[in-house]
Symmetry: C2
Subunit: 412 residues, 2 copies
């Protein structure tokens, strides 16, 4: 047996790493976010309740609450008689002042959702948009036009805009540059900057993120499986992307490129290929139409047609959908082995096709995943549907505030 | 355009989820951990420095420091003349009182590492152990025997044991049950409980975790890439497993089963299969020996022999290793597309074989990954080698303390 007692050499590296982590930690900001989240949990509560719940002393709580009211994040809403007879002022989230706007641009439609600070939807718009057929400039104008209508509406209600976030079916880098959106014809396109100019450099932040990431954010906060900390959200639009919620947070990876689920390699009925090539909506549309490629402006109508034909029991349609489901299940099994999620949520058009996709996917997952009982994962259908990415874009801004990055009311 | 203004229905779900998260948050514990991490960063510092660095007020800092000293986590170590002339007492991590013990059991060896609270190695032992040939009971006795020798040595030095953690090449559930370790012949084996009894129910915690998870923990804290927040660690023992560091933390998945990298499906030179079947050390040993299966007690000698033959330029050996490297690179490309890590660390025997594996793996990764420049990932060789899992087992206990789960000195 070799015995050695050496000191851990790279304490320098460790110190460096810890320093980096410490830089990100601001106790005051953390505590502001923590108090806000507590009020969300309680609905309405007093400063004394908050001190009891958070373990912070009453002076600290009062100072934190004062700042949150100053920032129009919390408001006082009535009072109750406390247990020792003195009236206690109740606090709740101030849902009346701010609005957060999320937009999704895809190859066949645009969607916009606005929410208040309590997460209530203020606007939920959807309209056809030929993203594939439009130039990048035309798409920027269309997004800006839709966003401006929402901003004007919020202005008219006296609401301050917290931010505008746009969901795009593409790898997006940390600067908001669209790296590669083949179906939109965008490569290394700085959508965030272009949109900022088109909106005349507004005071609020304009950001861009991947549609699957934002769909996952929406599902985690508003979906039927919102209490799950480990979730994989799969977009079911023309392409197939994944948003990863791991230990309660969206995980983007080092450069923002995480979630390329569609590249996983699977073997189904003797044919081998990428999950996206075997299980995307695009694949179904091409296989079930006589067309060479899809007509991106007709996607919804064509999906509805497929549903009708499947309901009517058309063998070929059902066979194609079940094969898609098996490929999806085989890909999910690989992701489950690597990440062990609690739930995999099928979004977009997968919802309408789920009666045929889901049983096939579940069977394949069960027979392929290595973990006992597939690690306990459930494959489910989105409860938010096509609204998820735009809702997630609006929601991400609320999550930043909950994390302690507090907004500043104008004119303060 | 459809216009709808509906309220976000499942606010109840949201409240429920937030409540769960809030339960995990204890401000006092967070702040204790935060102060400890600050002292680690600074090395030696005064209470005033800590107040300045953390943004906590001096009274709070003094109360936190008093508890940390009481718990033997920090100690006062001399003083300096402060800038306004009054001497300031300096604080540092108390490396003299506690010891944390990590053990790795594998098919051909056992390793043990003990560290103090500052992360200095107190013990680093390794010995041959026929894990494949031994019964589960024999292995438990062997682990307990090795651990007891370390515990006695620490007792003799007057050190209190923080915990004993064991690394096993297997899926481990959250209860410390070994679900499936085929090479050790263990299935649903409650190693943690068995070991606790063999150690006569000690006061410190006895835990079990996956070897790849713990290797990743060691690399993150002590490895040459310790400042990376997104890392995939690949074990290079007889099998092939992965530990995932995502956004600075080890991610175990919902049930503790994350990291089954070896099941990813790749195609290399026309042959298709699981990465583990194409790129594990076991594969090389079988292909390059006349044996039907490996002799688990000879793994190190056989790997050394392969290195010698490769250095001597033996074509068949080099071809097998390069093919392994390509399969490894193809698998890494899939994990990179899904997780976008900054670094992939090759552990265990991959270190010795890296001159032949690494160039092939990098070439394959570069040609297959979807993200631009493979998302900036580097494939590197472990700087900790075979010691990583045992060191990680000991280190995980320190990480818990840094996170605010403070130890209690005996007799307090």
């Amino acid at each position: 047996m070799r015995i050695a007692a050496k000191s851990a050499g790279p304490d320098g590296d460790e110190a460096l790493r810890r320093a980096k982590r410490a830089d990100f930690t601001d106790v005051r900001a953390n505590n502001l976010g923590f108090v806000l989240r507590q009020v969300r949990v309680e609905g309405r509560c007093s400063r004394a309740d908050l001190a009891a719940k958070t373990g912070l002393n009453k002076a600290t709580v009062s100072s934190l609450v004062a700042e949150l009211i100053e920032r129009r994040v919390l408001r006082e809403s009535g009072s109750v008689i406390g247990n020792i007879g003195r009236p206690a002022v109740l606090l709740s989230v101030d849902s009346g002042y701010y609005a957060s706007i999320g937009v999704e641009v895809n190859v066949d439609y645009m969607a916009l959702v606005a929410v208040d600070l309590a997460g209530n939807r203020l606007l939920s718009w959807r309209r056809a948009h030929d993203g594939a057929g439009s130039s990048a400039g035309r798409s920027v104008s269309a997004i800006a036009g839709l966003a401006k209508r929402a901003v004007d509406k919020m202005d008219a209600e006296g609401r301050q805009i917290l931010g505008l976030a746009v969901a795009v079916p593409s790898m997006i880098d940390h600067k908001g540059v669209v790296r590669n959106a083949p179906r939109l014809g965008w490569t290394d396109f700085d959508l965030a900057s272009r949109l900022r100019s088109a909106m005349r450099d507004p005071q609020y932040a304009v950001s861009v993120d991947n549609d699957a990431n934002l769909g996952a954010v929406a599902e985690q906060r508003f979906g039927a499986w919102a209490d799950m900390s480990n979730m994989i959200y799969l977009t079911g639009e023309i392409g197939l992307g994944a948003g990863l919620i791991i230990d309660g947070e969206l995980r983007r990876g080092a450069a923002g490129f995480a979630g390329e689920f569609g590249n996983l390699f699977v073997e189904i009925d003797g044919s081998i290929g990428r999950v996206e090539d075997l299980a995307s909506i695009r694949t179904a549309l091409i296989e079930l139409s006589e067309a060479e490629d899809i007509n991106s402006t007709e996607v919804e109508a064509e999906v509805e047609d497929i549903v009708t034909r499947a309901r009517a029991g058309e063998d070929r349609v059902i066979a194609v959908l079940e094969r898609m489901g098996r490929a999806l299940g085989a890909g999910i099994a690989l992701a489950v082995d690597l990440l062990n999620p609690e739930v995999v949520v099928l979004g977009g058009h997968y919802q309408a096709l789920s009666p045929w996709l889901l049983p096939a996917a579940e069977a394949e997952l069960g027979s392929r995943a290595f973990a006992p009982e597939s690690g306990g994962v459930e494959v489910v259908v989105s409860s938010l549907g096509h609204e998820a990415p735009a809702l997630g874009a609006a929601t991400g801004i609320l999550n930043d505030i909950d994390a302690g990055r507090m907004p500043t009311p104008l004119g303060r």
